[in-house]
């Protein structure tokens, strides 16, 4: 199998390029995505190769990006929008929530809006305010949207193509502090051979406890599982990948085998996805659970200044602490 070594960011670029080559209706649009190639260079070179009509440097207004993307989708295009940073999506929240998510139902199925919204998310890069947030729960709570998060280069390459091919709007979260993590990708494989976008993936098999996580936390959870192994604990890491809908059969299967669940995300624990997951797992796996579901994540505070983020973000030790609390039951 011929593979190429790509960073997560380059894998996204290669995936977008392949989708654009396959379908002339795919457009890239956003702030600074053209000549500059995006602030993270994820769209680097696309405008040079596909032209300004297909890689559109937009005016600086997020609602305008999503609102015009909806109009382009109504005309038969498949817009792939970049929101520059997580904390800048909110000016577009109205178009995403009131229009993009609801137009298919409003039209009783006659309108399809295959719009993808790429959002670099999460902290850990020493950034200023609004550049380190994890707003996935807002969108997961908006039905009509699909919400996914990639965790590694391989998933980035395939999932971005699957999101573009999806006939429903997809909010696509990219772990910005993992943009430079590398993976081996077989670019010759057909898209159909990839794990479906809606499926969770066992990133590491284990028998004593499951950590459910996504995006940037997958790497942290894998490190925690490796550390736990040294203490004789076998921890399974489940990369959820799809946040709406969640692949509950895979999650329940894992929890039924291990009997214990820790949910880890960077977003605040309070009112976050972990709460929803804990409730569903409790409903469905009550008699297999050996301990209450433990959540580990951000605090019920706004994201702190960068010099404090190492305390705010759930790191290896905080995840291991959650693992210990579960195992001590």
């Amino acid at each position: 199998m011929p593979t190429t070594t790509l960073t997560l960011g380059r894998a996204l670029n290669a995936g977008m390029r392949r989708a654009m080559e396959a379908d002339p209706k795919v457009l890239v649009m956003g702030e600074d995505v053209g000549k500059l190639g995006g602030v993270f260079r994820v769209t680097d070179g696309l405008q040079k190769d596909f032209g300004e009509d297909r890689v559109v440097d937009t005016p600086l207004a997020e609602s305008g990006i999503i609102g015009t993307a909806i109009g382009l989708a109504l005309r038969g295009y498949r817009p792939l929008c970049e929101i520059q940073f997580d904390g800048f999506v909110f000016p577009a929240a109205d178009q995403i929530i009131t229009q993009l998510a609801k137009m298919h139902m409003r039209s009783r199925g006659s309108i399809r809006l295959p719009v993808v919204i790429r959002i670099p998310f999460g902290g850990g890069i020493g950034a200023v305010e609004h550049h380190s947030e994890s707003p996935e729960a807002y969108f997961a709570h908006t039905h009509g949207l699909r919400v996914v998060a990639c965790a590694n280069a391989v998933d980035a390459y395939w999932m971005i193509q699957q999101a573009i091919a999806c006939d429903d709007p997809v909010v696509f979260f990219e772990p910005k502090r993992r943009y430079y993590d590398k993976g081996e990708i077989d670019e010759t494989a057909p898209l159909e051979s990839a794990l479906p976008m809606g499926a969770a993936r066992v990133a590491r098999a284990g028998t004593d406890l499951t950590i459910a996580c996504f995006g940037p936390m997958v790497k942290t959870a894998l490190e925690a599982a490796a550390a736990a192994e040294e203490e004789g604990r076998s921890v399974e890491v489940l990369d959820l990948r799809s946040l709406s809908p969640i692949d509950y059969p895979a999650l329940f299967d894992s929890v039924r085998r291990t009997g214990r669940l820790v949910v880890a995300h960077e977003a605040p624990v309070a009112y976050g996805l972990g709460g929803e997951i804990a409730a569903r797992v409790t409903e469905e796996c009550f008699y297999q659970l050996e301990a209450p579901v433990i959540r580990v994540g951000g605090f019920a505070t706004p994201y702190p200044p960068a010099r404090l983020e190492e305390h705010y973000l759930p790191d290896l030790d905080r995840v291991l602490d959650a693992v210990d609390r579960s195992l001590s039951h």
Binding site: G64, G67, G144
Partner: protein, 385 residues
């Protein structure tokens, strides 16, 4: 009192709520008295048949709207936003469109909808609560009603960018028409749509029905300058037209749409009109405006002036006028019947069309809810719902 155009904005509460435009600012081809005027920039040559057609449109649209208000009062509709007074703005602009053009309405464009072939009962579905949208937009070149104020102006602009990418700008080209109101002119989305349309030179026309009131907020709360002049700041032409003059609305929209189709970019039309009724059937305009204002605007009624013109010019006989009235009455009856016959949706339809593709979350809840419904004694099978 004319709208202040100085930099000093009117002090809150002091500005007139229905400031009259400067006479030279207003494109008018038919006076309130029903006299024809010529305008050097907007020549209009209509056959008697076309004029009779516009009259019929106006009367039918008003009759439909009146019936819908009645239906709300009878409890058949949850709500109705009446277009009373805005018939000429809607019919005039709608009749300027080609079949391939695409319209992006607010929730009050019943007259435009009828001109685009949407059936009256389809317009009632949203307001009766049987669906969120009663027609297929592609079949009519008429998008679904948008309730969030101003959102559709961006959709129209994006659609127009699609027209450009499809190579459909030119002599036989297509364009988009976005409706919005004076209140919406304050929304960020409308201003972003202006920026996008201007920067990308998109084939879109923005048609603002300035009906003077955003529920209870007068125009002065939205803008100290005439709305059409805002276009200049965005870099495209703006024009104010007598919104109660169906000829002027037709001529001005024709020209703007032609320019957009041919690649001359966007423009803004401000149709200066008046919302003669309440914002919706839930509203009580006597709390915030004087009846004298309404009486003044009644003298500028869009239908009366055309009827006067037709009579003066002898373009139709009494038979035609009474024939249209009879047709309108028939429409009223038909709408009444069709409204009551609109079937209630089945409970399980809640889950239909949330997603275009299969979705495990929705599927799971659908199954559970069906089982719940089936758990009642004597319940029919889920498949029947």
């Amino acid at each position: 009192m004319s709208i202040s155009t100085s930099n000093a904005a009117p002090v809150s509460g002091q500005a007139s709520s229905a400031a009259a435009p400067e006479p030279e600012e207003l494109v008018q081809l038919l006076t309130p008295e029903g006299e024809r005027r010529e305008h050097p920039d907007y020549p209009l040559d209509l056959s008697p048949e076309e004029i009779r057609g516009l009259y019929r449109d106006l009367v039918l649209v008003r009759r439909f709207d009146t019936e819908a208000v009645f239906l709300q009062r009878q409890g058949e509709l949850g709500l109705w936003p009446s277009l009373l007074g805005q018939e000429a703005a809607q019919v005039g602009s709608a009749r300027a469109l080609h079949g391939h053009d695409m319209v992006f309405p607010t929730y009050r464009e019943h007259g435009v909808a009828m001109c685009r072939g949407v059936r009256p009962e389809q317009l009632l579905e949203l307001f009766r609560g049987v669906s969120h949208g009663g027609w297929n937009p592609k079949e009519h070149g008429f998008h679904l009603y948008t309730i969030v104020i101003g959102s559709q102006t961006l959709h129209a602009t994006g659609y127009a960018m699609g027209i450009q990418r499809d190579g459909r700008v030119g002599a036989e080209g297509e364009a988009a028409l976005a409706y919005f109101g004076d209140g919406a002119s304050s929304q960020g989305d409308v201003n972003e749509a202006f920026v996008w349309a201007s920067v990308f030179h998109a084939p879109v026309v923005f048609f603002c029905q300035n009906n003077q009131w955003a529920i209870s907020a007068p125009l002065a709360k939205q803008s100290p300058i005439p709305l059409y002049r805002r276009a200049a700041g965005f870099g495209f032409p703006g024009v104010r037209v007598d919104g109660n003059d169906v000829f002027a609305c037709l001529a001005v929209t024709r020209q703007a749409m032609r320019a957009a189709r041919e690649g001359q970019g966007p423009s803004l039309i401000e149709a200066f009109t008046y919302r003669m009724g309440a914002h919706t059937t839930n509203d009580d305009p006597t709390r915030y405006r004087l009846s004298g204002e309404l009486e003044e605007w009644k003298l500028k009624d869009p239908i009366e002036r055309l009827r006067a013109y037709i009579a003066r010019e002898g373009l139709a006989g009494a038979d035609f006028l009474s024939g249209v009235d009879a047709e309108a009455e028939e429409l009223g009856e038909q709408v009444r019947r069709a409204c009551r016959e609109l079937p209630d949706p089945r409970p399980m339809e809640i889950f239909d069309h949330v997603y275009a593709e299969p979705n495990s979350q929705v599927d799971e809840e659908r199954e559970r809810f069906a089982a719940y419904l089936d758990s009642f004694e004597g319940a029919e099978h889920e498949g029947d719902r």
